[in-house]
């Protein structure tokens, strides 16, 4: 070595590996407007599709007349269910084991349902054509309330045999989909009966929508010469889409290439398969030309992938000292007209059974009933792992209600019930094995950071001042300690449509010491091209800047289940590390050969292999890469490549402590976030800058959901919130600054100890905002009100509590 040789720290820094706040490689193209989103794709001769949609929530279709539309110059085809039926494509399977109409087959079940698909030379003509399609409807009684639906004589799904089992077992009523039960029913009821204190509440998590700024869309291009279909689309799971397209179209899977280009946000909206994709594929096959379909914003909000809509009836019991003894939950899940929830097959209510949260609850029982109503299908995980945000909201509300019942401080109640550090791995009463956690440390850090005791004193004073007429503003302190369950998941119990939820990474090292890695996931803003390169840099000792990450092209990337449910880092990230380790193992043999020592006599050191005990003798990974391609090494194949398909042994369990301090104007119902502190423990931190950005974004989505965002229906099943005038997305003006913090408890089973973070802030944020609202009114007797906490609902709460004099 000479003086010019960088020292070990510099070599480490040069890699920009794990822990580096590396700037994102994606940003060069995005800041210049050179991203390539679906609607940017332009193919020779491309046609455009547009839907005729039902204005009614429940109606029989008497007739469809397409003559006028077909007569319009530039319209090439108008598809209806009748046209799709001979192909067996008028219905399609859903991810939840149900089936869904691609185009209305005899009736419609929700407002905005797809009735006909017009194919035209451009999108303007397609829209004009859609206006000209005449549909005669006969209105039917509408069911928008799931409790009513379970009692009603009105049969929504006439296609289903009411006596036959559904995909998840027996159905109790013609509008019932499934019952899912976990835990000990009788034991839990006994505990509730014999405990000192029981708190009971109905916790409703309202229907909302992920609403990414880019809507869903696709371009289907059937090349009749080669028999190959290329399908570009906003797909969060491109490989699964390829398999689904193959299964329903009959095209062989090798003749289908699915490409997810840049995606303008997903948040769960882009997991499912939608009628627009099927119709575009059919239209391309029929016309032999590429067909583009991009939904507009109203279509997006009204028809593709709602989230939540869970009515969670809960009971929680405790000793009089506050030790929780049992938890009972019955959920009525409004799934809309078709069960198109995106959950692993064995979990019709997702991971709702994580609803014991961060607490050591010895006995618990959960039942979920899925119900059909005249609303849009979906039930996707909006920036959360399957139904985890519902579970977290439920338990964090129940804890608050229990604290009221016990007349205890809610922070203290949490503390005495947390699963203790020495209890991990911890098996919950509802069957999950929590891999790791240190909740007390996180909690104490959070309480100190916000000055919790002083806040409570200030709040008490505020209540006095309010009662004395000195102020009209109340102070709420919203506490949350959440535990997520992400990284689905182990193939033994997680699959979607029979596809195991592993993920994958394939790496090729180039002779000059740079690399390309391809994964089965797809970024929608998370920065995979940046962070996966960092994982690899640390594993294989080549700079992240020399590693290209590629995702989303099923012809080149290895099979994987895609990006949602915070699964990219826990699953594909693990595959990346494991593939990197295979590279390193081969590199070790090459290095040993080059250094003329035994394999076991070299060891990896940042960016090189060194001879043990003689660090001046080394081969850098760059040198090794070249050797892999230019030296004939006995017993070793040329080249340096690896692939890993990673089946995770367990889920990961990120957690966090969030505290929201909120001022509420009792008269207008307006709120102001004075402080928001978010401590996240996502295990090993790959890129702190990106983690912080994910937390800011997730909290803002949580703010929207808790404080105003909803998909609301009137009694006729009309969507009342179909544009961004009424569907609440906060601007920079309504959004506060957040303080982020962390603790680090690595996952013991993940190769690099990472747990995933993208969804934590939504999961923990919603209860934090909501609890702040509730807490502000606790002194005046409030136990539970439903979200969203928009102005009029907060006003109503204050009014009902008699605070308006």
């Amino acid at each position: 070595m000479n003086d010019m040789t960088p020292d070990r720290n510099e070599r480490q820094a040069n890699l920009k590996g794990l822990g580096s706040s590396r700037k994102r490689v994606e940003d060069l193209r995005f800041t210049q407007g050179k991203g390539n989103y679906v609607d940017d794709i332009k193919l020779e001769g491309m046609l455009h599709g547009d839907f005729v949609r039902s204005p009614y929530a429940h109606a029989r279709i008497k007739s469809i007349n397409t003559d006028a539309a077909m007569a319009l110059d530039g319209v090439l085809a108008v598809l209806t269910a009748k046209d799709l039926e001979p192909l067996g494509l008028h219905w399609m399977p859903t991810l939840a084991g149900d089936k869904q109409m691609v185009l209305a087959d005899g009736k419609v079940l929700f407002q905005g349902q797809e009735v006909a698909y017009v194919v035209a030379k451009d999108r303007y003509i397609a829209a004009d054509g859609a206006e000209l399609v005449e549909v005669e409807y006969e209105e039917l009684p509408v069911l928008v309330d799931p409790f009513e639906a379970l009692k009603s004589d009105v049969v929504l799904r006439e296609d289903l045999d009411p006596k036959a089992d559904g995909a998840h077992g027996p159905r109790k009523h013609h509008n019932h989909i499934f019952t899912w039960e976990v835990g000990e029913k009788e034991a839990t009821e006994q505990v509730l009966d014999s405990s000192d204190v029981v708190a009971e509440e109905m916790v409703y998590y309202h229907r909302t929508h992920p609403c990414p700024l880019e809507t869903c869309g696709c371009v289907a291009s059937m090349d009749k010469v080669n028999g190959k279909l290329t399908l570009y689309g906003t797909f969060q799971a491109p490989h699964a889409i390829r398999t689904v397209v193959s299964l329903i179209s009959g095209l062989e899977e090798h003749n289908i290439r699915v490409i997810s280009p840049d995606i303008g946000g997903g948040f769960g909206n882009k997991v499912g398969a939608y009628p627009g994709y099927v119709c575009s594929v059919v239209a391309s096959i029929v016309t032999g030309l590429p067909v583009k379909w991009v939904e507009d914003r109203m279509e997006n909000l009204m028809t593709t992938a709602f989230a939540r809509d869970y009515w969670m009836k809960g009971k929680i019991s405790a000793t009089k000292e506050g030790k929780i003894t049992g938890l009972w939950c019955h959920t009525t899940a409004d799934h809309g007209g078709f069960d198109a929830c995106a959950d692993p097959t064995k979990f019709p209510a997702g991971f709702m059974n994580i609803c014991t949260g961060s607490y050591d609850i010895p006995t618990a029982y959960l039942a979920v009933d899925g119900v059909y109503t005249n609303k849009a299908p979906g039930g996707v995980a909006y920036r959360c792992s399957f139904r985890v945000t519902e579970a977290a909201y439920f338990i964090e509300r129940m804890i608050e209600v229990l604290a009221i019942e016990l007349n205890m401080d809610a922070a203290e109640l949490r503390r005495i019930n947390f699963i203790k550090q020495d209890q991990f791995p911890y098996t919950s009463a509802l069957g999950w094995e929590y891999d790791s956690g240190d909740y007390h440390t996180a909690w104490d850090k959070a309480l100190v950071a916000v000055g919790y005791d002083d806040l409570r004193k200030e709040q008490a004073q505020r209540v006095e001042d309010f009662k004395a007429g000195k102020t009209r503003k109340l102070l709420g302190i919203g506490l949350t300690h959440f535990t997520e369950i992400v990284g689905a998941g182990p193939v033994k119990n997680c699959d979607i449509l029979g596809l195991g939820m592993f993920d994958s990474c394939e790496i090729r090292i180039h002779p000059t010491g740079s690399a390309i890695a391809r994964l089965g996931t797809i970024s929608q803003g998370q920065g995979h091209a940046t962070t996966f390169a960092q994982i690899l840099a640390s594993e294989i000792g080549l700079p992240a800047d020399s590693i290209t990450i590629e995702e989303g092209d099923t012809d080149t990337a290895p099979y994987g289940l895609g990006t949602y449910g915070s699964r990219s880092t826990p699953v594909a990230g693990a595959a990346t590390a494991m593939a990197g380790r295979k590279i390193r193992a081969k590199a070790q043999m090459i290095a040993a050969y080059m250094l003329e020592v035994h394999d076991d006599d070299v060891e990896f050191d940042v960016d090189r292999f060194v001879v043990k005990g003689a660090p001046e003798r080394f081969k850098t990974m760059k040198e090794i890469a070249f050797a892999a391609y230019n030296q004939a090494i006995p017993g070793i194949e040329p080249g340096l490549e690896a692939v890993s398909y990673y089946d995770p042994p367990n889920m990961t369990y990120p957690f966090g402590a969030y505290i929201c301090v909120m001022e509420i104007d009792v008269d207008t119902g307006e709120h102001e976030i004075r402080q928001f502190y978010a401590l996240d423990d996502c295990g090993t931190r790959i890129n702190p800058m990106i983690i912080e950005g994910q937390v800011h974004g997730g909290l803002t989505e949580a703010l929207a959901i808790a404080m105003g965002q909803e998909i609301a229906y009137d009694n006729m099943g009309n969507v009342k919130t179909g544009t961004l005038m009424d569907f609440f997305l906060p601007t920079a003006w309504e959004t506060p600054n957040y303080t982020t913090d962390h603790t680090t408890t690595p996952s013991p089973h993940h190769p690099i100890g990472a747990k995933g973070v993208g969804e934590s802030p939504n999961v923990g944020g919603v209860p934090a905002f909501s609890n702040a609202v509730h807490d502000a009114f606790r002194a005046f007797g409030l136990r539970q009100v439903h979200m969203p906490h928009d102005h009029w609902r907060i006003w109503k709460t204050a009014n009902d509590l008699g605070l308006h004099g």
């Binding site: 547009d50 999108r123 303007y124 397609a126 829209a127 004009d128 206006e131 507009d296 914003r297 109203m298 008269d667 207008t668 119902g669 307006e670 105003g708 609301a712 009342k720 919130t721 544009t723 005038m725 009424d726 609440f728 906060p730 601007t731 003006w733 309504e734 928009d790 102005h791 009029w792 006003w795 109503k796 009014n799 308006h804």
Partner: protein, 283 residues
């Protein structure tokens, strides 16, 4: 969201506009900033076979702000915000304009469009009623004047005839204190409730008062009784309460996503009392 096809006209003077309106009658609509009309056209909720763009008509621009203020119909909210002389002679216009929509929309949104189309959600109509403004309309028979307080009949139904164009608004420079108080769900939203208040003082008593409310009925609501009730008082808490009660009698809000009727009335009361307090402090 794709609008239906239409013919586009961009006349260079008002006579051109009026003859197009005469020619096409109901089938023609004028467009200024377009931020109310274009979304409706894209949703195919407004059918406009002939669209007449007013952007090239210089007669419709300009702000004169002496003791009588005249604002051309094509003046944008951004123009109002930027006009220093107007900000000093009638500061309530800037205060209100800053609460309309968002920056991009304010570059396009015009006074004429905002007052003429009769959307009860628009802020300018109530403000103009508060200022006791006069609207100048030009039609085939020349110009006529209509008081803002007489202009609105129902949602989207106004005194303007199909062949008339809004040319300008005029009003006397307001005296005394002012406030435009608006509660909304977020930036870009229409008001849940909004109040425009102008009050002048004589010593410690209220000399003149003018109150108008927005989005609390199918038209803007000039509250004559509430305004009059303040005159001669010292604008005490009790006086404000009386004015608010008179206002509540005058409005007729409808339930929508912003809340039920009862809440709207409550919000109206809150914004008005805050507006009166603020205007009084400034008087």
């Amino acid at each position: 969201m794709i609008p239906a096809a239409f013919d586009y006209h961009r006349p260079n003077d008002l006579n051109g506009v009026i003859s197009l309106l005469q020619e096409h009658g109901d089938d023609a609509r004028v467009i200024a900033g377009g931020h109310s009309l274009i979304p409706l056209m894209k949703l195919r909720m407004a059918e406009v076979p002939h669209l007449i763009d007013l952007q090239s008509i210089s007669e419709l621009t300009g702000i004169d702000s002496g003791s009588t203020i005249r604002i051309g119909a094509m003046t944008t909210q951004a123009d109002i915000i930027d006009n220093a002389s107007l900000a000093s002679s009638a500061p309530i216009l800037k205060e209100a304009s800053l609460q309309i929509a968002d920056p991009q929309v304010r570059y396009m949104g015009t006074v004429g469009g905002n007052v003429a189309n009769g959307d009860p959600g628009n802020d300018m109509p109530g403000l103009m009623q508060c200022l006791d403004a006069t609207f100048i309309l030009r039609g085939p028979n020349g110009e006529r004047e209509v008081k803002a307080r007489d202009f609105y009949h129902a949602a989207y139904m106004t005194e303007r005839e199909d062949d008339e164009v809004m040319v300008a608004v005029t009003f006397d420079a307001p005296k005394g204190g002012y406030a435009y108080e608006k509660q909304k769900r977020k930036i870009g939203d229409y008001a849940t409730a909004a109040a425009a208040v102008i009050i002048s003082k004589d010593g410690s008593t209220c000399k003149e008062a003018s109150i108008a409310m927005t989005n609390l009925s199918d038209t803007p609501v000039f509250c004559a009784a509430a305004s009059d009730s303040l005159i001669g008082t010292s604008v005490s808490a009790e006086d404000i309460k009386n004015a608010v009660n008179s206002m509540i009698d005058a409005i007729d809000p409808a339930e929508d996503n912003r809340g039920p009727v009862e809440f709207k009335k409550h919000a109206a009361a809150v914004v008005l009392s805050r507006a009166i307090e603020r205007a009084w402090q400034r008087a």
